[in-house]
């Protein structure tokens, strides 16, 4: 029998959940609010919360000064492209590790994850020089490949965890019915793992969208995504916090909206397999 939850306890839990949620969301909320202030209001002390003269001036200035759509388009292509490419490579890899494990599968998985422990700056120069040689500097293709590679271990790990939840007998039954490897992965495994693939996809879009080391270091004018757009509004000598906030809000808005609409899938995917 489920444990009875008292009303008081429920109210407490709700309050706690909302408080934690608000605490985490507060910096984003503050950024959004600041984007509607004037520069003088943005630094006012005590800080102004809701009661100030709301203005859209910062958005107008940012829009006029930067080509937002070009940065946005680059972000969509780089984040989307790297995630799709990563999943295409990771599905067969995760399949083999989940269903045809060898003696070394665990080691390979750990080794893949260990590449994430290397500080990115450690390989900056080799990759930069490779990019010069291959003519990939400041190209969307180059960034798509790099972001795919750095997120690949996470994609493989996530898919591997989801695939492990799928009973191998179902795949065996398909094989008995004459399904080849291709049919097995495409028509049996993939549809069953759709929630897992969807959440992997979403999480990686977010990771790639927010990636700010490689996207700043390997781009200049042409392939720069929204991370570079935000960075261009930071100033060492001058208070442009309101404009910086407007740029930041414009940069995170698309991913925030995507996250909002897909939160069900995200949560389901992330807690998939947590309760057995």
């Amino acid at each position: 029998m489920a444990r009875a939850v008292t009303t008081r306890r429920k109210a407490f839990n709700t309050l706690l959940a909302w408080s934690i949620g608000l605490l985490i969301f507060f910096p984003i909320l503050w950024t959004i609010l600041t984007s509607f202030k004037t520069e003088a209001q943005a630094i006012s002390d005590p800080p102004l919360f809701l009661f100030f003269d709301w203005t859209l001036e910062n958005y107008a200035v940012v829009q006029e000064r930067s080509d937002y759509t070009r940065f946005l388009w680059n972000s969509i292509i780089i984040a989307g492209g790297s995630t799709v490419l990563g999943i295409l490579i990771a599905v067969p890899a995760a399949w083999s590790m989940a269903f045809v494990p060898s003696k070394r599968t665990k080691d390979i998985l750990l080794w893949m994850l260990s590449t994430k422990m290397l500080p990115a700056v450690g390989v900056l120069y080799p990759i930069y020089i490779l990019f010069i040689e291959l003519g990939l500097l400041d190209t969307r293709l180059g960034l798509t490949i790099v972001l795919m590679l750095i997120n690949l271990p996470i994609i493989v790990w996530m898919l591997y965890t989801y695939f492990k939840e799928i009973p191998g007998e179902i795949l065996e039954a398909a094989r008995m019915d004459g399904a080849g490897l291709k049919e097995e992965i495409l028509f049996i495994l993939t549809p069953m793992a759709i929630p897992g693939i969807a959440s992997t996809f979403l999480l990686n879009i977010i990771l790639a969208w927010n990636e700010a080391f490689w996207t700043l270091n390997l781009t200049a004018a042409k392939a720069a995504p929204l991370t570079a757009f935000i960075a261009s509004y930071s100033s060492p000598e001058g208070l442009f916090y309101a404009k910086l906030s407007a740029a930041a809000t414009m940069a995170i808005a698309p991913i925030l909206i995507l996250g909002w609409f897909s939160q069900k899938q995200l949560v389901r995917g992330l807690t998939f397999g947590a309760v057995k």
Binding site: I132, L216, N217, A220, A228, A231, P236
Partner: protein
Amino acid sequence: MFIKNALCATTALVMLPVAAAHAETLTIATVNNGDMIRMQGLTEDFTAKTGHTVEWVTLEENVLRQRVTQDIATKGGQFDIMTIGMYETPIWGKQGWLVSLDDLPESYDTQDILPAMRGGLSVDGTLYAAPFYGESSMIMYRTDLMEQAGLEMPDAPTWDFVADAAAKMTDQDNEIYGVCLRGKAGWGENMAFITTVANSFGARWFDENWTPQLDSDEWKEAVNFYNDLLTNYGPPGASTNGFNENLALFQQGKCGMWIDATVAASFVTNPEDSTVADKVGFALAPNKDGVSKRANWLWAWALAIPAGTQKEAAAKQFIEWATSKDYLSLVAEKEGWANVPPGSRTSLYENPEYAKVPFAKMTLDSINAADPNNPTVEPVPYVGIQYVAIPEWAGIGTSAGQEFSAMVAGQQTPEQALEKAQTLVTEEMEAAGY
């Protein structure tokens, strides 16, 4: 008829801007400072004159520095022009990473560039970057609070006067702090300021044999003075305040005095952003009574061309345009004299219109009082006033800066901070082979 047509055609061809025949797209890396933003808005004038177009890559200062170093060292060729500072220019020029700007046409009038700027941006007499705007540091103070304190700020005050004024202006109950100074760790943040204080107490970073001198009595006196001044009369949390944080405090009327970059003068006197715009006075950065050097630095944001660019000719045309006398007039015409990039040309300060700008004279006096080739009382083997123009400086300056920031935060005494800084600088310099 044929001859006439041919002549017309030839004339028309000659009349076309030479560059338009091979119009280039220049990629320029820069920072998001007010003067640079204005330049981006005026680029159409350059395109109309030369036919070349410009793509801007605006980056955060530290990212820009890392990004252009990486590109220039690996010959990545991502940028045709880069915005660099007075610290990098001599180092990179010596390495052969930058294109010499000695062949700019006579009409550009290189001799008109302020001598201090020209000196700081040259190696062995060769100019490697053209100053877009230059700055020194000076005291900005509240005239009303100074009057209330019953004091009058001299044009060239001493540190004793500043400490006295800070004590009298401080009114912590009303959140007014006598002095706002940089405390945030970083070679370009607190170390820029602390190094100038050290200079004005007669200290130096290294002796002629590159032996670190942070254990000297002059350093002890300077750092103790800075620490006492800031912790007694500065705002709370001063150990995390940099240029922007102090600017915000000053604009809200919370600082009696602020010693920082001359470029701040145009911000604090702008009534749109500053609540104290009409109550600001200026004075030279202080010195210890009897010491010949003052605590004012010298810095330039300059435009340079990386060696190996395919578009050298067009890049030179851009630099010629952006750092010319005509550009200054263009900004004055569109945005007013107060918004003209300061500190680059002598002729600007001879212009009677510009002389009406309240901070013009003090900016020029501060720049002229700075000599990067001769920054300290005792001789030194390095160039640079608020920095030491060697590649190791960014590392040692930042590490030492963390020690002094921890000192302002109350985590250690000035003696402890100096001892640690002396040890780490000695180790770093030995490892670098000095």
